[in-house]
Amino acid sequence: MYINWRLREIDIKIVYYGPPCSGKTTNLEQIHAKLAGQQSKLISLKTQGDRTLLFDFLPLEIGECKGLKPRLNLYTVPGQSIYVSTRRLVLEEVDGIVFVADSQRSRLQENIQAMHEMGRHLRSFGYCPQAIPLVLQFNKRDLPDLSPVATLQQHLAPSNDIPYCEAVATQGIGITATLKQIVNLVLTKM
């Protein structure tokens, strides 16, 4: 978190983490689409030849609140790359994490692996993973053959008090609820 007392800006970094193709980019695209009229730009930093993407980035200004101007910096990690380091670097200086899980039963293990990897990266920066505000998003609830929410919670939530949202990112369902949850949590834990 960064606060500029002169400009009264407060700057929060939120990272959407998760296994490949769980819907992280779709989350940012949906938020972007709902902002019609705002000047925010969704940036995708890609390496040549596409696919191995460094990150998606969406800055979001929320106007004045209690004399401060909060700015959200939303990032996604690249899912596709099998290379670990590209996912690690996006977590630098993170204030809150949305873990986007793919609810399909067949993807349970990939979710667990991604969660595990995330903990490892956070520890490598000297962060304590349990201390970073986290919201779970169980995405793709529109598809058949899903893991029940209780199963996802049991396997993915590091502790019982981790909030979660069900979502259908492609239809914009649960997207803003997730964002509000994580922002709320970041500001509570501060």
């Binding site: 960064y2 606060i3 929320i62 609140c65 990032y75 993170v94 293990q109 201390a131 501060m190």
Partner: protein, 402 residues
């Protein structure tokens, strides 16, 4: 793995000694046979990855030895040593399956280069993949091989110990680590965050010690690791976020703003900006608007961290190096970035007709001054209004029309 086995066959003691010294120095295991008969006996007893053989030897000639050994072990690679460029025998040797030849006299470096090239080609042809767990995690390697139903052997070296996993029919069928065998090996392996590995296709398992389903094993393993990591850190977790909040007082901010302005003039830059390592814009000066500056901060920090990440990957054992600078060049302008303390980055975008040395000088000077100023600033205690959270919530509602 590192340490492929090479058999050096030469009647000339000095040449053989030089070869063995150079090969061992490069991390290979090298042994000598002093004539053809001994070489054949060696290959009957043990397997070698590569044969280095002198064509001209008393007794059994090199070509004959090569032919016999190739019959014993068709997979063995071979490099021949020729004394005075007898090209015909060299060509004949390659027909028999040698990959390369070296003309005497040659030195250790030439030898090692030739051996490395030949072995690398052999690996490719044998379907061998090498890497480090730092770049590809064990869980990825296991899922790929089980999902593709490969028959393969995975060997991993980690701090002096070596483990082997065997895959067949979409499962892990055998695991061994030191004297331990079977399923429980996975729990130790999953905790390895680095280690050189070698994956070789088509190697059948020597035995079967694992019956559990691979994905269940991995899940249970990851679960155990997460639990123990959580136990270790639970105590310190209470109420602490990742990094302390970076808060700049109005005074410090003014200072940074002026210093950026001066730097911009000194380097006749297009723009200069300060960001944190996570990509947050702290401030900027120059010919870009705010939203451009915000994007630029995210991009510059992303590529700066990527540079640091490269240093991590290239890091030698026990030596941690961080890049403190990075340079991005385009056709007409470049971006030069340096670290300011542990958390901030100072970036300068400048036209290519300005010498980099000049830019480097002024930027480092500015970074040094800013670091001093920031170091004096005690982290200001934070008292954010309680109501901020609610107002931000309301603002988000309004923004998204909920």
């Amino acid at each position: 793995m590192v340490g492929e086995r090479i058999l050096v066959v030469d009647d000339d003691v000095n040449v053989a000694k030089m070869c063995i010294k150079a090969l061992r120095g490069a991390g290979f295991e090298a042994e000598r046979a002093s004539d053809g008969t001994e070489a054949i006996a060696c290959c009957q007893k043990e397997t070698f990855d590569l044969l280095l053989i002198d064509l001209k030897m008393p007794g059994l000639g090199g070509l004959e030895v090569l032919r016999t050994i190739k019959e014993l072990d068709p997979d063995i690679a071979a490099i021949i040593i020729t004394a005075y460029g007898t090209l015909e025998s060299a060509v004949e040797a390659m027909r028999l399956g040698a990959q390369e030849y070296l003309n005497k006299p040659f030195d250790g470096d030439q030898l090692v280069t030739a051996v490395q090239q030949v072995l690398a080609k052999k690996l490719q042809a044998d379907g061998v993949v090498r890497g480090n767990l730092r770049e590809m995690s064990l869980t990825s390697i296991v899922s790929i091989n089980c999902n593709e139903r490969n028959q393969a052997r995975l060997r991993i070296r980690h701090r002096g110990t070596e483990a082997a996993l065997f895959f067949e029919d979409g499962q892990i069928v055998h695991m061994v680590l030191d004297s331990q065998e079977g399923e429980d090996v996975i729990y130790r392996l999953l905790s390895w965050e680095e280690g050189a590995f070698e994956l070789k296709r088509g190697v059948p398992p020597p035995k079967r010690t694992v019956t559990a389903d691979w994905s269940g094993l991995i899940l249970e393993g990851l679960h155990r690791i997460d639990e123990s990591a959580a136990d270790r850190t639970r105590g310190e977790a209470e109420g602490r976020v990742g990094r302390p909040i970076l808060a700049l007082s109005g005074e410090i901010f003014e200072h940074i703003s002026h210093r950026l302005d001066r730097l911009l003039a000194e380097v006749e830059g297009r723009c200069v900006l300060m960001a944190d390592r996570g990509g947050r814009l702290v401030h900027w000066q120059g010919r870009i608007d705010k939203s451009q500056a915000i994007s630029l901060a995210a991009l510059v920090a992303g590529s700066f961290s990527a540079t640091a990440e490269i240093a991590g990957v290239l890091r030698n054992e026990g030596e941690t190096r961080q890049f403190r600078q990075s340079l991005q060049e385009s056709e007409d302008f470049s971006i030069y970035s340096v670290a300011v303390g542990d958390r901030l980055i100072l970036s300068v975008s400048f036209n290519n007709n300005i010498p980099l040395g000049l830019v480097r000088f002024y930027t480092l000077e500015a970074a040094g001054e800013m670091q001093e100023v920031l170091a004096e600033e005690a982290t200001s205690p934070l008292s954010l209004d309680e109501g901020l959270r609610h107002q931000v919530g309301d603002a988000l509602d309004a923004l998204f029309g909920d």
